[in-house]
Symmetry: C2
Subunit: 199 residues, 2 copies
């Protein structure tokens, strides 16, 4: 309750649904917006409407973009021989920020989860085997979260891709860059030891 | 950088300007919005436009509402004998949530600050003396922040209201409800001791 009109109340309730914002920070955000109407509130309303009207899922890889196929799938500069399977568009963004991958993506839209009731048919898996089996693809990299559900999904995807004549790899588990051994959990340390290599 | 179109980039940049959100949480929020278009993204765009079109500052007290005078100033149920001076609309909301005050408000829109260059003419002070001197008003409660700037502003406002025949009071400084003495700062403890009263 704010004592203000239902318009403000509704705006607070909607903003409070965003990840990272609760009712208290949503109230602060609304007051901030109402103080910065020309430079923030009106542009934000417009940007939301614009993005809603233009952004769509790529019909090839399910990445989000204003064009279909997305910029990554359409780019001749991206290596067509390597596919990287990720959980979510956020992971595409993270890998693109790191500029560490020059191939193309396949966004699953989630990971298998018995607890959350996510089954293989709920994920964007239908076209993955087909893409992996298509001419230039030589390697599929599984870049899924290092969680139980992520590992189960990686296992399931690797199974489905077996026998297609394509190399299936997983990104390495180990000590993060800048990580102190003392602060890492046992699982990461065990994985890092197991995946040790000659220097 | 997200590799996505400028529409997404712009939305992230605008959301990152909200208090409580940074670039990282803005990216998460945008992905969340793009996944919940009908139930969140479109309503939010609409709610922002609606609030921008309808919400305005009350010409009497500077509270924000969709009507002018605001609901508090217009309500016959509110005690016209008491004015509560606050820094910001957020403080009006906080007091209304607490249902602890039944009078009317006067929103300054800030506090005096030499550091931030906020002078008396930058605050909504012009009509305060006039309102305080008008017939039914008997008491002006200063509910300003317990900071150096807040105290300076309270002092300044009290000076301006002196000689108008109106009682000027300040909300109490002391131990918050549920507060452990051990965790309170020295200033609060000193204020609480000084303002002690017979039980």
């Amino acid at each position: 309750m704010t004592s203000a009109g239902p318009e403000i109340e509704r705006l607070i309730q909607l903003l409070a649904k965003l990840p990272g914002l609760g009712p208290r920070s949503a109230r602060r955000a609304v007051l901030h917006l109402l103080k910065k109407r020309e430079v923030l509130m009106q542009p934000l309303a417009q940007a939301l409407a614009d993005a809603d009207a233009t952004v769509q899922a790529c019909s090839i890889c399910a990445n989000l973009d204003v064009v279909d196929p997305c910029a990554v799938c359409a780019s001749p500069a991206r290596d067509p021989k390597i596919l990287c399977v990720v959980q979510d568009v956020a992971d595409v963004w993270a890998l693109e920020r790191a500029s560490a991958f020059k191939g193309r993506y396949h966004v699953l839209g989630g990971v298998l989860s018995a607890l959350d009731g996510v089954r293989p048919e709920d994920l964007n898996l239908a076209t993955l085997a087909e893409r992996a089996a298509t001419a230039p693809v030589e390697e599929v990299i599984l870049a899924l979260p290092a969680t139980v559900d992520g590992a189960a999904t990686a296992h399931y995807v690797a199974d489905r891709l077996a026998g297609l004549g394509v190399k299936v790899t997983s990104i390495a588990r180990g000590v993060p860059v800048g990580g102190e051994l003392d602060f890492l959990d046992d699982g990461t340390l065990a994985a890092a030891l197991q995946s040790r290599r000659e220097t």
